[in-house]
């Protein structure tokens, strides 16, 4: 067990080092002189040199990389060019909103996916199954930057039930959460369906039926509980889609999270903030996946002993 945990932690650390290197290289991909791009052509030469020095761009690439990692280890992400504030502060302000949105979207996804998947599996090859899977196919195919405006149009503008954007009111989160959760719900409902179909063929399901359990109890207590194991693993991987989608969804609803900060910083050419946002979102994704893996290995010995290629 400790070997399994250590090896997972080691590869997660390696991945994080690689991710940091890629993020570090981002600023060097700016065409031309990044300092000129960030400050504009009208900037004074002295200002340019000051920024170049502050960002360390006047040093060799390797030196820069070492400084960068040294700063990262001290949780120093630099200063925003726009607001002149420490980037860690900016991120800290935005994290709760994104976490809240991702959590709510996850709840929405599970609430839609589980009933849909169960209906489809229990009534396999019936109109119910086709209907549920058609809904799921539509869900995967609707881009969130279109679903969002449509939901705003219907529920905020026409019906006037929910706020258009922002995060001030308690019910502001409903539309963004539905927008972000829909695609995940679509993927999950297919997983629930196929996973439950497999489980329903097991002997213990036949036993449960044979001893006279009500069909509902067989499905929910015996079937679904076991069928959810593979679904939960996929959920960890799908978190990446959720976090990526959050960037777009936050822009649609002016939701003040990390995604909105990322896009705003791109528009203002505040590249250090862009780098920090990408790094933070990716790191949280890696951390959550590693935790899922470790907890899973702890719960289910087959995972840690099995072939992991």
């Amino acid at each position: 067990m400790p070997v399994f945990i250590l090896s997972r932690l080691f590869s997660a650390a390696l991945v994080l080092v690689g991710v940091s290197c890629l993020v570090f290289l981002l600023i060097h991909l700016v065409p031309g002189d990044p300092v000129e791009v960030m400050l504009g052509e009208a900037a004074q030469p002295a200002d340019r040199e000051a920024l170049r020095h502050a960002l360390g761009l006047d040093q060799g690439l390797l030196t820069q990389l070492l400084h960068y990692f040294n700063a990262l280890l001290h949780l120093d992400l630099g200063t925003s060019l726009q607001s002149k504030r420490p980037i860690t502060e900016l991120l800290a302000e935005r994290i709760p909103a994104t976490a809240e949105l991702a959590g709510a979207a996850l709840v929405v996804a599970v609430l839609i996916a589980v009933p849909l998947g169960v209906i489809a599996a229990v009534r396999k090859d019936s109109p119910w199954d086709y209907g549920a899977m058609t809904v799921s196919m539509l869900g995967v195919s609707i881009p969130n930057f279109w679903l969002g405006p449509i939901l705003i149009l219907v529920f905020s503008v026409w019906l006037g039930w929910l706020p258009v954007s922002g995060r001030e009111q308690g019910d502001s989160i409903i539309l963004p959460a539905i927008t972000l959760g829909t695609a995940l719900a679509a993927v999950l409902s297919r997983m629930v369906r196929s996973s439950l179909l497999e489980v329903l063929h097991e002997d213990y399901i036949r036993t449960a039926r044979a001893k006279g359990l009500a069909e509902g109890a067989v499905i929910w207590r015996h079937g679904l509980r076991n069928a959810m194991l593979p679904v939960v693993t996929v959920l960890g991987l799908q978190l990446g889609v959720l976090l990526g989608g959050a960037v777009v969804t936050e822009m649609v609803f002016s939701w003040p999270g990390l995604g909105e900060l990322t896009i705003e910083s791109i528009q203002r050419r505040d590249y250090p903030v862009v780098q920090a946002c990408v790094l933070l979102i990716s790191t949280s994704y890696v951390v959550v996946n590693t935790l899922t893996d470790v907890v899973y290995g702890w719960l289910d010995p087959r995972v840690r002993l099995g072939d992991r290629s």
């Binding site: 700016v30 881009p143 791109i266």
Partner: protein, 265 residues
């Protein structure tokens, strides 16, 4: 379930619209000031946008944008990714170890985030969208091709070719790639759907095509400002986008069943 004709028809129309449409319909940037935000009607069957440009013409040009970008991205990433993955799986050793780490690193970036960051840093423009999506997209093919080759490389015909002294590049291209083409095609189909949405997403964020060029994503973004007065500006490109993505996804599903590819990793 759904037969092949529905996704086939959708994709055919999309491709035809993209390749021939722009030369058949009129100028997408023709401005008629008296028709600003006009609803669908006899003058323009999908109405006019906030600058008085015809929505139908812009929709057709948008089809071209999404088709060209997704076709280029998927062609490049499928070839490069499959070759890298197959080679790495076949050679094994430290090369393979390094590649697996690189794939892990790319997979650590959630969804579209890396593409957004790359497109943001490289600057807006359609060629940068292609670059950003290609940098992100090759990983899926590489991982799939590597896994497939790992399971095939100990087969007799590969061992026989090795024993005969056939060059390794030839073994990969002649004896391995043909066997893994089916799952790669399925992966490629879903990759097209992903690329269409990603291109539109980047254009929606203002990182894709630049005005006055049209993309379904930028049309949706521009349309949201006038949603109350002219909902057709958002509905038309959104429905087009959804129908195309739905068609590609249905085709992928269908191909997966037909080619008997068990599951996507």
């Amino acid at each position: 379930m759904m037969r092949l004709w529905l996704p086939g028809t959708i994709l055919m129309l999309w491709a035809l619209g993209a390749l021939l449409g722009p030369s058949l319909v009129g100028d997408p940037n023709h401005i008629e000031l008296q028709r600003i935000l006009a609803s669908p009607g006899p003058a323009g069957w999908l109405g006019f946008d906030d600058l008085g440009r015809p929505v139908w013409q812009r929709l057709v040009v948008g089809a071209q944008t999404s088709f060209m970008v997704s076709a280029t991205v998927v062609a490049v990433t499928a070839v490069v990714g499959s070759l890298i993955g197959a080679t790495s799986g076949f050679i094994g050793g430290w090369v393979d170890h390094v590649l697996v780490r690189i794939i892990d690193i790319f997979l650590a970036f959630p969804g579209i985030l890396l593409a957004i960051a790359l497109a943001g840093v490289l600057g807006p423009g359609i060629s940068n969208v292609v670059i950003a999506l290609s940098v992100v997209g090759w990983v899926g093919f590489a991982r799939l091709a590597r896994g497939q080759v790992l399971s095939l490389k100990h087969r007799e015909h590969v061992q026989a070719a090795l024993a005969l002294g056939v060059r390794r590049s030839r073994i990969i291209i002649r004896h391995l790639l043909p066997l893994i083409v089916a799952p790669l095609i399925v992966e490629g189909t879903f990759a097209v759907a992903g690329a269409v949405i990603a291109e539109a997403g980047l254009s929606f964020l203002g990182l894709g095509v630049q005005p006055p060029a049209a993309s379904w994503g930028s049309m949706i973004r521009d349309g949201t400002r006038y949603m109350l007065m002219a909902p057709h500006l958002v509905l038309a490109p959104g429905i087009a986008l959804m129908v195309v993505v739905l068609g590609v996804n249905l085709l992928g599903d269908r191909l997966r069943d037909w080619l008997d590819v068990r599951s996507r990793p």
